[in-house]
């Protein structure tokens, strides 16, 4: 593949010679390690595993082989073999990533964890569950719901993504304002290190300062420090009552401006999600749904939950009143299964809707201190004006995390678009940094943002990160080329 952007990724053309190729004899070894039916090289399969949810044209790369190990032992054997021949390994969950993390930039072996999805242990007394890394995140809740328990760390892609991918990206979700992101729920990990050793980190512990906190070094490491094969997760009691408010505002600025007020009011919402009008419109069109967006410039979706129905309704009402005081046009209430699913599915499907209606785009993931998000909107408006592009915007406003989506206007050719995209991102990221923010809140750096991370991160921090990588993975075979270019 040779699209302009790939050639721009420094080093991709010169580096592969450092790595061994998957020769027929290595294939034979792989097959005897894993069995015939867990090793694939047919072009259809390779193509399907050459990309994640980022654009295949911009970022796709074919692996040489895709394998589906079924046990930790098989993963360890595989990593040892890769060490012997210096073959790059790319761990992969469901491939729902939005930063190119699961793309095998240097070919080699894609290690898909999707066949490892057993529940190893549910411990009701300690309120933990131990699952294999390939388990689809939503399935965890399906397993524990009947016991009145709940895994709160899930992202919006819950029906798709795997817990291994969530851990590698430290995914955040629609409930993070109250419940926090994945890292809060990871208590222990089983990891195959880049040199092929199996190690168990952490445990069913409420606290643990025995040595460095390696569990949380792995959380968010994007598969560059080893392959997670299993995880012990914290469960919490399932909230018994939930109430959502869909709040309409005249302008995005008005909506975003009321977020800090809501956050500091003393009641803790589970979620405060922001959707500007074009996001709601696209998603409604996509779902054949109808929400009253015609009259508004943006909406907030605010969720309250708790153990008592009357209390939750009371809290929701208080928040609703607050929004009205803040100039909201209207507050809608969704307090039962039917209506709640309606409003959340509009929120969940925005990304998919934009993929259909504006296939050429850059889905951003900027994060700033929650009280500063009103300050980022002027920059977005300015970029729209300056470059003649549209930037629909939605996201986890309560976390200061916005998915501004730069959309290629229909009349702009690809070359020009790539230039505009790059220039606009430079300005956006500079503004975000200025506000004390970061370029990614939950989707990760992967391939997509590594050039910008190098630019906007404190050089000392970057140096430390590279030192850690060097110490863990001296051969640089574990998901190489992610976060930063190999030296």
């Amino acid at each position: 593949m040779s699209t302009p952007l790939q050639q721009e990724i420094p080093g991709t053309s010169s580096l592969p010679h450092r790595y061994g190729r998957v020769t027929p004899s290595i294939m034979a070894e792989l097959q005897s390690l894993l069995g015939q039916d867990q090793v694939f090289t047919d072009p259809d399969k390779l193509q399907a595993y050459s990309h994640d949810e980022t654009s295949i044209e911009d970022y796709g790369h074919q692996p040489e082989v895709v394998v589906f190990p079924r046990s930790t032992q098989q993963v360890a054997d595989l990593v040892l073999l890769a060490n012997r021949y210096r073959i790059p390994l790319t761990p992969r969950g469901a491939g729902s990533g939005l930063s190119g993390g699961a793309i095998p930039l240097f070919g080699g072996i894609v290690v898909s964890l999707e066949k490892m999805q057993r529940v190893r242990d549910i411990d009701y007394e300690n309120m933990t569950i131990t699952v294999e890394a390939g388990m689809v995140t939503n399935d965890i809740n399906n397993v524990v719901r009947d016991h009145g328990l709940f895994y709160a760390g899930y992202p919006m892609s819950l029906e798709t993504c795997t817990i291994g991918g969530n851990i590698a990206e430290n995914a955040g979700g629609g409930k993070a304002v109250k419940y926090g992101v994945t890292s809060r729920y990871v208590l222990g990990l089983e990891l195959v290190t880049p040199s092929g050793e199996v190690v168990r980190l952490g445990g069913k512990l409420a606290k643990d300062v025995t040595g460095y906190d390696l569990v949380h070094l792995i959380v968010g490491s994007e598969g560059t420090l080893g392959i997670v094969t299993a995880a012990t997760l914290r469960l919490i009691g399932l909230p018994k009552a939930t109430c959502d408010l869909l709040v309409l505002y005249a302008t995005p600025q008005a909506a975003i401006s009321s977020v800090p007020t809501i956050l500091t009011n003393g009641l803790v919402p589970t979620a405060i999600e922001f959707m500007d009008r074009s996001s709601v419109e696209a998603s409604c069109r996509y779902l054949n749904e109808s929400l009253p967006y015609e009259t508004c410039g943006a909406m907030l979706l605010i969720e309250m939950d708790g153990s008592d129905q009357a209390q939750v309704e009371h809290d929701a009402e208080a928040v609703g009143e607050l929004c009205l005081q803040q100039g909201a046009l209207e507050v809608y209430v969704a307090d039962n299964r039917t209506t709640r699913e309606r409003v959340w599915s509009v929120r969940r499907n925005i990304a998919e809707a934009f993929k259909v209606y504006s296939p050429v785009q850059s889905l951003e993931d900027i994060v700033v201190p929650p009280a500063r998000i009103p300050d980022i909107l002027p920059t977005l408006a300015e970029l729209e004006r300056e470059f003649g592009i549209t930037i629909p915007c939605y996201g986890h406003a309560g976390d200061g995390n916005l998915h501004a989506t730069l959309v290629n206007p229909p009349d702009m050719d690809m070359e020009r678009w790539h230039a505009v995209e790059h220039e606009a991102l430079e300005i956006l990221y500079a503004a975000v940094t200025q506000l004390g923010g970061k370029i990614s809140g939950e989707h990760g750096i992967g391939l997509k943002r590594k050039r910008y991370m190098a630019e906007f991160m404190d050089p000392v921090e970057l140096k430390l990160i590279k030192a850690i990588k060097q110490a863990w993975d001296p051969l640089c075979i574990m998901n190489p080329g992610k976060l930063f270019d190999p030296e």
Partner: protein
């Protein structure tokens, strides 16, 4: 469900408005916005149903009544519509009653037409559009199998509305606050002057005798289809599965009288269609009758008419009953009557009148009431079509008997001889077997295309009785204005009984040609994976899966789709899945009932040809010698 009584346990579950009733509320709210008036909501249920009523109030309804009494518990649709219609009268004057299409748990759609029968006012079912013409008349559009039927109806009347009517609004915070202040009166049986013996479980004509879970574990069968012989075998096996499930019913053209004419000539000579006298002779004293409804659709006798005969015939043979097909239309030809006889009827009663040319619930119901009171059939079967599902509940109330909706299986109880009617409920998650022990006739609507018509047997004998009815409709309150066929999106993926889908394995846009051809042959809708949609091979409305449509067809046949988890999310409730994929490890093969491992470009065109052959010839599937018949 209560395993002992087979009735719904409504206590302790999250009490929400039946999602389809929200459309009825929205329709009412829009009328009110445009024309003024006030809206009253009624719900019959446990005290917790008050929460659902408050939701309706917060959307903008004016008054609410809760009908709650231990004596109401266990009501079937007969008893429910009795209680509701009594309460409606109790609540004062009204102009219009709107109900949802059906409840998503019981799933019958019988209560709306039932209420109309109790109140003696017209009913229009499956209304997709409505407009008030003046204070005494409204124009409505009904969504039927043939297209949009336009009607005019005088108020008061009952409407059951479908989703197309309008997207329900969300309640506002202010609305919620106001709704909280409203007192909701609770009406009991004694408030309504109802004898507890005539309502609830005690007063219900139908009884649930058994509840069971449909077999969920898919039985997987894998067929390698790489070499010529294997491919042939695979195609045969697919045809057989299609046939077993009634998907190969002959095309309409094959069902008409033309190819049949010459063969019939003989019977005509041997046994001329007889008169009423013959009917009496053929129906010896005490011989019970099963009636099946015969309907015309688009000017042709509908295949469901023959499907019902195929259901009735074995029951009649088993219990020594007669099968009488009752056909309603403006005029019924001899050859249609002959076809009914050839396909299993002993007798055909042709009810003819210009006013029966199109379906109108009240007119059809009154025609059948007179006949049924006169002839006292033991069983009446009708198709669960938009007309059958409105007509039968109306008729059941008029005849004072029970009705079971949308049956997929019928049998006779060996002890009592009662009809055992089995139907899915709660979205197909459970099956219930229902009986009508003390009332006659026993009535059921049958899911269309769940049976294959019998082979026409030209040697069968039967009689035809023609009854000319009054050309003036019994009910002049409803006027049929016309039918629009073009505007209906018959490619409706969610409603399709069969979906044929393709994915990235089709290689290019042109690959969908093969998928479309098979879909056409089967009368199916076309689906696609996201890979295919993303590549622009087919439009987004065809996408099946997590971010596309969730569908529950009876048959999902897909080719070149790997079965990614997001795709499977859209077909979880498909009854039968047939997958064609060259990769033996493709996950789709793990969920398929029939997994064909082979090249879609080899298999699809040949399968299409074979299907066309069978459907056109109307002969039993040929070439099944290699496979054993098994239930999938």
């Amino acid at each position: 469900m209560d395993p002992d009584t087979g009735t719904m346990v409504r206590e302790g579950v999250d009490s929400i408005v039946n999602p389809l009733d929200l459309y009825a509320i929205e329709a009412a709210l829009r009328l009110k916005e445009d024309h003024g008036g006030s809206i009253t909501v009624l719900s019959m249920g446990p005290p917790a149903a008050e929460r659902a009523l408050r939701e309706a109030l917060s959307m903008g309804c004016d008054r609410a009544f809760l009908l709650s009494d231990k004596a109401f518990a266990g009501s079937d649709t007969w008893a429910t519509s009795r209680v509701l219609s009594t309460a409606i009268r109790h609540c004062g004057a009204f102009d219009l009653i709107i109900t949802g299409e059906r409840a998503t748990d019981g799933d019958t759609g019988q209560v709306g037409p039932g209420i109309a029968a109790w109140l003696g006012i017209p009913v229009l079912s499956h209304v997709s559009q409505l407009q008030l013409r003046d204070t005494s008349c409204l124009m409505a559009t009904r969504l039927t199998e043939e297209g949009y039927q336009r009607l005019e109806v005088r108020l008061p009347c009952v409407l059951t509305v479908v989703k197309e009517i309008a997207v329900p609004r969300l309640p506002t915070l202010r609305g919620k606050q106001q709704a909280r202040k409203v007192t909701i009166p609770c009406l009991t049986a004694s408030n309504l002057g109802l004898d507890p013996e005539t309502i609830g479980l005690a007063g219900s004509p139908t009884r649930v005798v058994k509840i069971f879970h449909p077999r969920v574990a898919r039985e997987a069968e894998r067929i390698e289809a790489r070499e010529e012989a294997q491919i042939r075998q695979a195609i045969d096996r697919v045809l057989e599965v299609l046939d077993n499930q009634g998907f190969l019913t002959p095309k309409r053209d094959a069902c008409d009288d033309r190819p049949y004419e010459s063969a019939t000539q003989q019977i005509q000579a041997e046994h001329a269609l007889s008169s009423v006298d013959d009917h009496a002779r053929l129906r010896p004293q005490g011989k019970k009758e099963i009636w099946t409804l015969a309907e015309y659709r688009g000017g042709r006798m509908d295949t469901t008419s023959f499907e019902l005969l195929a259901r009735a015939r074995p029951l009649a043979d088993q219990a020594g009953m007669l099968v009488t097909a009752v056909a309603l239309s403006a005029a019924i030809t001899d050859s249609d009557a002959r076809m009914l006889i050839a396909r299993g009827a002993d007798c055909v009663i042709a009810l003819e009148s210009p006013c029966l040319a199109d379906f109108e619930c009240g007119t059809w119901s009154s025609a059948l009431v007179t006949l049924a009171r006169d002839q006292l059939p033991e069983i009446i079967l009708a198709p669960a079509t938009t007309s059958g599902r409105a007509l039968m509940p109306h008729l059941a109330i008029m005849l004072g008997t029970g009705l079971t909706a949308d049956c997929t299986d019928l049998a006779l109880d060996p002890e009592t001889g009662d009809l055992l009617q089995t139907r899915p409920a709660i979205g197909g998650n459970i099956m219930a077997t229902i009986r009508t022990p003390r009332h006659r006739p026993q009535m059921a609507t049958i899911r269309p295309h769940s049976t294959r018509p019998l082979q026409p047997d030209t040697a069968r004998q039967g009689c035809l009785i023609r009854k000319m009815l009054d050309p003036q409709p019994a009910d002049t309150r409803v006027k049929i204005l016309g039918l629009d066929c073009e505007s209906h999106d018959f490619e409706n993926l969610e409603a399709a009984r069969i979906v044929v889908a393709g994915g990235r394995g089709l290689r290019k846009a042109d690959g969908f040609r093969h998928v479309r051809a098979l879909a056409d042959a089967l009368g199916a809708a076309v689906g696609a994976s996201r890979e295919a949609v993303d590549r622009g091979w087919i439009g987004y409305p065809h996408q099946v899966g997590l971010s596309g449509k969730t569908i529950s067809p009876d048959l999902y046949l897909c080719a070149g789709i790997s079965g990614a988890i997001q795709h499977l999310a859209g077909i979880r409730t498909a009854k039968t899945i047939i997958a064609i994929n060259s990769d033996p490890h493709a996950p789709i093969h793990e969920v398929a009932n029939l997994a064909i491992i082979g090249d879609l470009f080899e298999i699809l065109p040949r399968l299409t040809k074979a299907v066309l052959q069978v459907r056109q010839s109307d002969h039993l599937v040929a070439g099944t010698e290699n496979a054993t018949r098994g239930d999938i």
